[in-house]
Amino acid sequence: MDARRVSESLEAVGDPPDRIVRCRKCKHPIGHLTQNWKASSSVIRRVRSLSEARAGIPASDQVEWRQWVCPGCATLLNAEVALKGDPDIWDYRPLGS
């Protein structure tokens, strides 16, 4: 299948409109390109305190650090810092989806 890069950690395979997003390292399927793959049940989503990334700096309880992990190889696929309650950012949406 012709894989097209989505990011440094993800690629998309298959024909539109059913392109699948998968881990570039182990090829584990993660989600669909036409949906926000971060909401997929095929990816591990972790929420941490930002103080884990930045020792010695006070953290706010309104802020969370979200990570997405490949369930196949445990590689960190993506991360974002967000306010609690904010939706996960949809990094890329094909036109028309």
Binding site: R5, V6, S7, E8, S9, K38, A39, I44, R45, R46, V47, L50, A53, R54, A55, G56, I57, P58, A59, S60, Q62, V63, W65, R66, Q67, W68, V69, P71, C73, A74, T75, L76, L77, N78, A79, E80, V81, A82, L83, G85, D86, P87, D88, I89, W90, D91, Y92, R93, P94, L95
Partner: protein, 618 residues
Amino acid sequence: MSEGRRQKIDPITLEVIKNRIKCIADEMFLIVKKTAASPLYTESNDYSLGLFDGNRKFIQLGGTAVFHFVSLKSIVDEAVNLLGEDPGIDEGDMIMANDAYGAGGIHSLDLGIVSPVFYKGKVVAWTGSVAQQMDIGGMTPGGFNLEAVECYQEGLRFPPMKLYEKGKLRKDLWNFYLANIRLPEKQAIDMKGQVSANKVAGQRVQELCDEFGPETFQEACDVLLDLTETELRSRIRALPDGVYESVDYEEHDGRSHRFLKVQCGLTVQGDELKFDFSGTCPQLPGPVNLTKVGLSAMIYAGLIPSLGWGIPWNDGVTRPVTVTAPEGCVVNACVPAPVSMPFTGFRALEAAMRCINKALEHSDFHERANAAWQGMWPIIVGYGLDQYGNPALIPWMDGGIGGQGAFPGRDGVDNSGMIMAMNVHVCDVEWSETYYPFLFLERKVRRDSEGAGEYRGGAGVEIAAMAYDTPRLDFVNLNTRKYLAGYTLAGGYPGGQHLQLLKHGTNVSERMKTDLPSWEDLPQPAEEVGTKSRFSLLPGDVFYYTGGGGSGVGDPIDREPSKVSEDVRWEYVSLEKAYDVYGVALDPDTLEVDLEQTRARRDEIRRERLASDSGEPG
């Protein structure tokens, strides 16, 4: 693109004129640097110059505070709009403006002076500069007013006005301006430097027209604009069509801590880019708003370095780009919203950068994708008496020493700057101690401030300093990125953020007789300095500041262990973080990598990740 134009200019003449234009802008830059009095220019390069063609198209930037190019453009266009018919534009005019709402920079401290260039009775070009002023009057020395609820409280605001009329200084305006600012002697010299740069640049353009003719000069400008546009469109076409989304927040409105939402959607379609800031919070009665001019300035400040490698940075970059924001939102504020500290602009810049770099990551240009830099330039302005007993106004620029974001394939630069102002410098410690009543205890790389990743972000700085040989210094402190952090790529970690602390009543002056203590050596308790606040330094007080690191790219446990060892050796990363985050076990004495323990630790990290799932999507 110029329609139906047949190019007559030959490539060699084009190249010669292109380089001549660049040299003119470079010469303008040096004139200001060498003739000004304020350290903002002589040491920090916080100004930009520009050349425009006869159609008022921006053709060359001098200096690299990239966001100033939009400011200059707005001043030239508004000068013609407002003064073109009455009283008219004449040879020898120098027009000044600093109105962020129409003709100026991102705030009123950015003062522009532009001038038409005439050749045989016709305008063939414009020259200009925008420079951050030391003071612009108003309630607070240095022009950053925490308490402002209206723009009228933020110092002088000029629409385009003729400082020179037909070659003659207008003494009424000159005297009025100098009477209303706190450093008239220094700032008068600075402005004369800006005027001189315009005059010399005008002469150089006239010489160029003597040599090649004004028609050839204009044709060269047209071709350069088209070339930039063509190449940029080609790069945009390489980005996958789609919508890239980003959200960021400013953390403080000038008086209190609150999260102010800045939302950006970038639509890439064909060879065009559309930035849309719908969903951004409304403007507010606090000085952190940004105007429409400022928003464009910030977008191009991120876009040009990201997509404009190797091409002339001119008006051609604007042709495929649209920027929209709801009127009355915090990044398209209307009068009378105050704008002296437009920190929402930094958020707009970073939100746009995230979108652009997600698009790059997705494309054949993925090696150019860049994680977030330190996220802003903290502003700390001091005032009081200097060590010589003279009134002092001190723009302390050291906050700009932050880390660059990493790229796929390479680490970010340590102790870099900020992408919107790449050539703006920080003064040497020795210079600062000579000219300001400061004593530095330390200024060094802050260990563990980098955003971890397979490719790590650049490290930020940590500084400890005190007021020296002065009874007191008062400061306005403008900071952000204390609670939130910049975007990362492919699972990288965010860089360390900004923190400011004070210790009172130390005995550093006594201890200096035998050694110079570090911040950690001082036993006094540290108190936090508010994100946007005022504080004072009395004898014995020490101020500590840590600047942000750049964000990382990729999984830290994919980082080459030998690189982690080097990071520890050079004190960018601690032994503890090497183990905890990067999963690399090092001999504490030799810093040699223990491969077996490293393998075990990284496996342990993977197991922890697979076992965790706090699952509900947001």
